[in-house]
């Protein structure tokens, strides 16, 4: 079974989804999905361990060797993303029951879990595959499932958000498809490793440039990088709470992975970063994203929406890391990818609890929530502190690496901007803290204060996530070493 390991994290949810559709009772579907996602997580953990021991793992699907068949090719980068996505997928699902039962009508629950599994399988499939076109297929699986999941939000605006996401996401996917088509025409292959070998020979052609441009734009649409982020706030805000948690923790991360994979493996860094002015483009867009996202988040009356904009900002940080074009920068980017998934997972999970109990997440509704839901609010606060980058939390580690990476390039202005960005984060997090703890509770008579804390299942997952923020702020070996190994594997041959 060990030789099948690279496939398992993807295959389990992929086949689990149709199997889940056969279950009629929502509860059974939930239990089944949980089991599947936990198994996938176990496989992903084993896979990461195996990758550490044995280096790159290759798995030929259908038994056909690489450029002819589809290959799963797992290096540290894949393994890290797989682990992250499956872990968040499993965690969110485990805590999802109460929230789903509250927000999704009964006849849709089974389908909801099926779509969730499909989305998970799609994201994992993107992260595992070594074939450019296979990536597109799984991208579409996850995207379609995402549209459906977003549309299950109770507000009718969820529909519009899902529709906009669908249109923009499809444009993005089609752009990626165009790009893949161009590189295929240039090289005749779709396998990423093979592409990497054959592209340099044609790297100077204008077609290669256009191909890269299309892929980058397409991926950035999915990634919600600044000017292409328009779908994200709506989708995150209007989606059911659980979906938001899952998407925020995984979807943009996988998109970033795709960006890194195409930039550094397929097109290779000599081309993508050194030959093109992308370095500047990424850094500038990243900085603009940080400030635009954070500023909107500061003035947003709804916390969920504010955090969605904050995601736009955080994507900016990650892209800055990529744009630095150094091993340190990439490592910082990957570390932030990992940590941000945990932070946003915590924050949105806490918001799921808040929405569950209070029916909404505007600041007005959340007044005094610190007293009625102390544990949830504490977790929310922990996630927020991590987002700011307070030392001792995971967010600090990200900021540290990002700033050192920028300092290595001696870009002092960038250092300042990065840090100033986290000040803005502090502003909106503090707005939340004041609302939660200082404002009088909204209509205290109507709700019994003791009964308000989130249900146990949700709370348990939330607390674990919140503690993970602290844990990964103190014991950073997993993300730092894996990200370091991955970054070295991608860039060390070429760059300092």
């Amino acid at each position: 079974m060990l030789s099948q390991l690279p496939l398992l994290p993807v295959l389990l949810p992929l086949l689990g989804a149709p199997a889940c559709a056969l279950l009629r009772r929502p509860l059974a579907a939930w239990v089944f999905s949980c089991a599947v996602s936990v198994l996938a997580l176990a496989a992903a953990i084993a896979l990461l361990a195996a990758t550490w021991q044995q280096g790159v793992l290759s798995y030929a699907l259908g038994g056909w060797a690489a450029p002819w068949g589809i290959e799963y090719r797992i290096d540290l980068l894949n393994a890290l993303v797989l682990l992250l996505v499956s872990a968040m997928g499993a965690a969110v699902l485990l805590g999802a029951r109460a929230s789903v039962w509250r927000e999704i009508p009964e006849h849709k629950r089974t389908l909801f879990f099926v779509a969730y599994l499909l989305c998970l399988a799609g994201l994992l499939g993107i992260a595992a595959t070594g074939d450019a076109f296979n990536l597109f297929v799984f991208l579409e699986i996850s995207s379609l499932a995402t549209y459906a999941l977003v549309a299950t939000g109770r507000d009718r605006r969820a529909l519009v958000a899902a529709y906009n996401y669908l249109v923009m996401g499809t444009i993005g996917a089609t752009f990626i498809l165009i790009g893949i088509g161009f590189v295929y025409m240039l090289t005749g292959t779709l396998n990423m490793a093979d592409l990497a070998q054959r592209l340099p020979a044609v790297g100077q052609s204008r077609t290669a440039f256009a191909a890269y441009a299309f892929i980058v734009v397409g991926v950035c649409l999915k990634l919600a990088l600044f000017p292409l982020h328009l779908w994200l706030p709506g989708a995150y805000t209007r989606a059911p709470s659980i979906v938001t948690v899952f998407l925020a923790a995984t979807a943009t991360k996988v998109a970033l992975y795709v960006l890194i994979r195409f930039s550094f493996t397929v097109f290779q860094v000599e081309y993508s970063i050194l030959a093109l002015p992308l370095e500047t483009v990424f850094v500038v867009l990243g900085v603009v994203a940080v400030f635009a996202g954070s500023l909107v988040a500061v003035f947003e009356p709804d916390l969920k929406r504010g955090l969605a904009y904050s995601s736009v900002a955080q994507v900016g940080y990650m892209v800055i890391g990529v744009g630095l074009g150094t091993v340190a920068g990439l490592q910082a980017s990957l570390i932030h990818l990992f940590n941000h998934a945990i932070m946003k997972g915590t924050l949105f999970m806490a918001l799921a609890a808040v929405v569950l109990r209070l029916g909404g997440s505007t600041y007005a509704q959340m007044q005094g929530v610190g007293r009625s839901m102390p544990i949830t609010t504490a977790c929310l606060l922990l996630g927020g502190l991590s987002l700011i980058g307070v030392p001792g939390t995971a967010g600090f580690i990200s900021k540290w690496y990002l700033v050192t990476a920028a300092a290595d390039r001696e870009q002092w202005l960038l250092v300042l901007l990065i840090l100033a960005g986290s000040l803005l984060t502090a502003v909106y997090i503090w707005r939340l803290v004041e609302t939660a703890y200082l404002a009088p509770r909204q209509s205290p008579a109507s709700i019994a204060p003791r009964a308000l804390e989130a249900p146990a299942g949700l709370l348990a997952v939330l607390v674990v996530l919140a503690l993970a923020n602290i844990y990964f702020g103190l014991d950073t070996r997993l993300p730092v070493q894996t990200a370091g190994g991955a970054a070295n594997g991608l860039l060390a041959a070429v760059l300092p």
């Binding site: 076109f133 597109f136 297929v137 579409e140 379609l144 549209y147 459906a148 549309a151 009718r156 605006r157 529909l159 519009v160 899902a162 529709y163 669908l166 249109v167 499809t170 444009i171 996917a173 089609t174 498809l177 165009i178 088509g181 295929y184 025409m185 779709l190």
Partner: protein, 117 residues
């Protein structure tokens, strides 16, 4: 002749642009999806053009035929077509729901309704 050898591709480019234009310029949600359809179909044409070999036959093995067109783009596009119809159907389902919720499928009207409430 360079120009002729690219003629096919350029027409495809024009098609893509037309489709793309419908997607972003039109306010009707159904029309947007139609545009998306055109856009995607044009990409299919691009791929298939790339797989054509002058003088080749369809890639169904037959005796006495030496030159075949490239089967790989065909396979890819088969998948892509399925993806396209899947996207369209999901999009249309959303449009139906939006119509039920807003009573309109014009983007401007929807924005207006959202702004007022």
């Amino acid at each position: 002749m360079d120009v002729f050898s690219y003629f096919n591709y350029w027409v495809v480019v024009v098609l893509m642009m037309l489709g793309f234009f419908i997607v972003i310029a039109r306010g009707n949600l159904v029309k947007k999806l139609i545009g998306l359809n055109i856009f995607q179909t044009s990409v299919f044409i691009l791929y298939i053009s790339a797989g054509k070999v002058m003088g080749g036959a369809a890639p169904i093995l037959a005796d006495g035929v030496e030159l075949y067109s490239n089967p790989l783009p065909h396979v890819l596009i088969l998948t892509a077509i399925v993806v396209g119809i899947a996207t369209t159907s999901v999009g249309l389902a959303l449009v139906v729901r939006i119509h039920a919720a807003y009573g309109t499928v014009e983007e401007a009207d929807i924005l207006e309704q959202d702004a007022t409430c």
